[in-house]
Symmetry: C2
Subunit: 501 residues, 2 copies
């Protein structure tokens, strides 16, 4: 095969995979938003079959040969080479995992999602536990097919964040807990900020009305984005011009859907801003989960919880909820959405205690894969760790072990990237604020200009550059957890009128 | 291959096709409801590819051999045999139409839908015309690959309603126009019924609230059904437990979304009630378009426009819209939703003039395929026929030639089944009323019992029995257009206080 023939074969192969990926992505969005539950098993069986077809196409040994040749061929277009480099890793990792096993695993994930949903609704971990156990076994089996000397959980961590290991995460989480645990303690001793008004009754109709306004403020354009509702908010996409977000409305927590909407918009903007040249290719994705979470956490925390953000938005919210917020000032509202208070549910956690939610999950995942923790009574293990780290205890499994969707799809190693992303975000914001007047843009409804900075410095590259190169290029620095910790300490000592550390 | 091996090969083949059909169906629903428009071309290209994969699987010459053997093998389970019989027809018809052409056609339909949507929004037929022309050419080319001596349009008619021909439809539409045109004329001369209150301002939020109630009254259960919004209402399904309907809200026409919701619920119930044994098989579908439309039209007209239907529902509607309907009695409301008045838009047409909308489309389709009508200036041809048949003229293409979605997906020969279905419906209702007290069930919120009758007599069979056998078995009679015409004449002479014909 000539170079040109190989490139053409490669392009067709990529197109075919992108078609299945698109179908599976739309089926998944549909499943998580509007699809009637009784049809789940029919659909699940068939989407698992289609996932198997996609897997068959991908796991073509001939293609591994081709991508291995093209990735090292200097004459080949660099975009193709980078794609081949990434595929070489993916194929190399997975080629020995047989298709039947892959299809069975897909089916298991589909069923586990349904079981998780039911378990959460019925507050009964025992419904989900057998699936969780099977998923762990299935993941073990899958990774056993790889040709790696790394510990299992390290391999998983790298799948979500190339280059990360337990050693590095241990150091990261140590640094976090070392500074945050005492700070949280001091915050708890300080005068508390009133946020009770956030928990009045906020009819969902009104919340939806505000969300329309908010999405428009975020320049989340209906021509390329659509927001729906789901049990556990997520973002999904098929291409640059098709990015879907989801949210969940809670009647007595007006901030929840708002902050999740801003969070997911961060993911959606990332995908929307990737160079359209990469559409349908492996490059058309956030470069790592940490980088993706950095964008959602940046929007949610650094922008969405700022006073500047709310300057024009808060009056709109007040107008929709006059009886709940009419007497609450902008300053009081912004303070309230920044309150730090140990709580049970990660997605509704404040910015300061959030990383401890992640630390708990990291410890549990490590334990599940080194054999020190089992799925049996994991709800109790979970609760004990929440008491230890955060001093709170879940009365209901839906607010404890069952709160997150991730494990139902076998995503172990993903959680740590939320904390890592938060740390990346702090570095990006620090750099961005030196170049553009973020506060002013927020106040003047010029959110698109902030997105333009993020596009220029981060988003456009997709997977073309590595995380660390993007970070270096955008901030002029290497990864440094202290930027994040300094930011949190400054913010919360200020908010609660504490003296320096 | 032994019989058992053939059956197993057949089953696997059917499963594989059903997976693609499910994916394509969900992608289509997504496209027509929530998918961001800017992503259309990306998605369209990929769904056309997947349609091609499904087509490749279906058009396997080896499978034609197998289904031809199995369909005639008395030892084989009758459900499998009937499936093979239907596939033998489908494969025999399509086997010579090459996959590349099929994929190109799928792509054309996807693009034509987008063009139609844009043309309709911009009221500009010239945007859609080139696509319509290409679609007709593509259909000609496709049917030229068949081995049939029938005229082209007859072949198309049979695809939607086996056994029907232009000769039969000509007789059918003659009978209709012969009795209905003078009746419509007499109605127009009579004292008119006030329906102006239906066209006040009905905020869509309120309409949606009523729709929730209505879907519940229709026992359209969220566990197996979901309703969304679209430009042109349709129903789609993936299996017995996954039936999706759509509707469209019009602010100054409160009856439109209501009647379309009832109409689509008729389609959804049909699919939901098919024997679950047939799930995923070719049998799991309405036996013909006419039969499908008979169920939607039965619900819409015979049930949804009856006083008994509104006895408990009208007070709910009144409560939501007190200023618009507070002073309107049940009798006035029911009379208003039955008003006959020549109008422009088929989907909002009354029951009496509706068949003439169909007659127009039938004449145009016949002309398009026998060469007497061209797509050029078809908007004018359309308007001229509306003037001739109904005495009304569209000022805007969106209310004329561009009102229907069907031609954008190459569905020629489908429209006549709407009128045929209306005629079937009258026969079914006549039989049903002899066996169960329909009025009472409607009044007592026992809609599910009506559905049970329809399930027992019609729905459960899917494609297992032919249309004419179902009709015969359910009504004890063969098809007879006069039942329908007598019903319309009785109803409208009564409503408008006319003397007998």
């Amino acid at each position: 095969m000539t170079r040109e023939e190989m490139i053409e074969t490669y392009r067709q192969w990529v197109f075919r995979m992108s078609a299945y990926q698109m179908a599976l992505s739309i089926i998944e969005i549909d499943k998580a938003t509007v699809a009637p539950a009784a049809g789940a098993s029919y659909r699940d069986e068939r989407s698992a079959y289609l996932a198997g077809e996609a897997y068959s196409i991908m796991m073509d040994p001939k293609m591994l040969e081709i991508v291995n040749i093209l990735k090292d061929d200097e004459q080949v277009d660099p975009v193709v080479r980078r794609g081949c480099q990434l595929y070489a890793i993916r194929l190399g990792n997975s080629l020995s995992f047989p298709k039947e096993k892959y299809v069975a695993q897909s089916m298991l994930f589909n069923q586990a999602y349904d079981a998780w949903l039911q378990a959460k609704r019925e507050n009964d971990y025992s419904i989900f536990e057998p699936y969780l156990k099977k998923i762990i076994e299935s993941r073990r089996e899958e990774y056993a097919c790889r040709n790696s000397n790394l510990p299992l959980y390290d391999q998983m961590l790298q799948d979500y964040e190339p280059g990360m290991t337990m050693e590095k995460y241990d150091a990261f989480f140590s640094a976090l807990t070392e500074r945050l645990v005492p700070l949280i303690h001091r915050v708890r001793q300080a005068d508390q900020i009133d946020d009770s008004f956030l928990h009045h009754n906020y009819p969902i109709e009104g919340q939806k009305k505000f969300m329309e306004h908010l999405l428009s403020y975020l320049h989340f354009d209906p021509s390329w984005g659509y927001q729906n509702e789901t049990e556990h908010p997520f973002t999904s996409w098929t291409c640059q011009n098709d990015c879907r977000t989801t949210t969940k409305y809670i009647q007595n927590d007006v901030a929840s859907a708002i902050l999740s909407t801003i969070h997911e918009a961060g993911h959606a903007w990332y995908e929307h801003n990737i160079d359209p040249l990469y559409d349908g290719m492996i490059l058309s994705d956030g470069v790592s989960c940490g980088m993706h979470e950095s964008q959602s956490r940046l929007l949610e925390n650094h922008l969405g919880r700022s006073k500047a953000f709310w300057k024009t938005n808060y009056p709109v919210l007040q107008e929709i909820f006059p009886s709940q917020l009419g007497e609450v000032t902008l300053e009081q509202f912004v303070a309230a959405i920044n309150v730090a208070k140990p709580s049970l549910v990660r997605t509704e956690a404040d910015e300061l205690t959030y990383p401890l939610h992640i630390a708990i999950r990291y410890e549990i995942e490590k334990g599940l894969f080194n054999g020190t923790i089992s799925t049996e009574h994991l709800d109790e293990t979970w609760n004990a760790m929440y008491e230890k780290y955060l001093g709170v205890k879940a009365e209901q499994a839906s607010q404890g072990i069952l709160q997150d969707v991730h494990w139902s799809s076998g995503s172990f190693g993903y959680f740590p990237t939320y904390a890592l992303g938060s740390a990346y975000a702090a570095q990006f914001v620090s750099a961005m604020e030196k170049q553009i007047d973020v506060q002013k843009l927020l106040e003047e409804n010029r959110f698109d200009e902030i997105e333009q900075w993020l596009k220029d410095h981060i988003h456009q590259y997709g997977c073309y550059l590595e995380s660390e190169d993007i970070l270096k290029q955008a901030t002029g620095e290497r990864f440094n957890v202290n930027t994040y910790l300094d930011y949190l300490c400054d913010k919360y000592t200020g908010l609660y009128g504490l003296k320096g550390e």
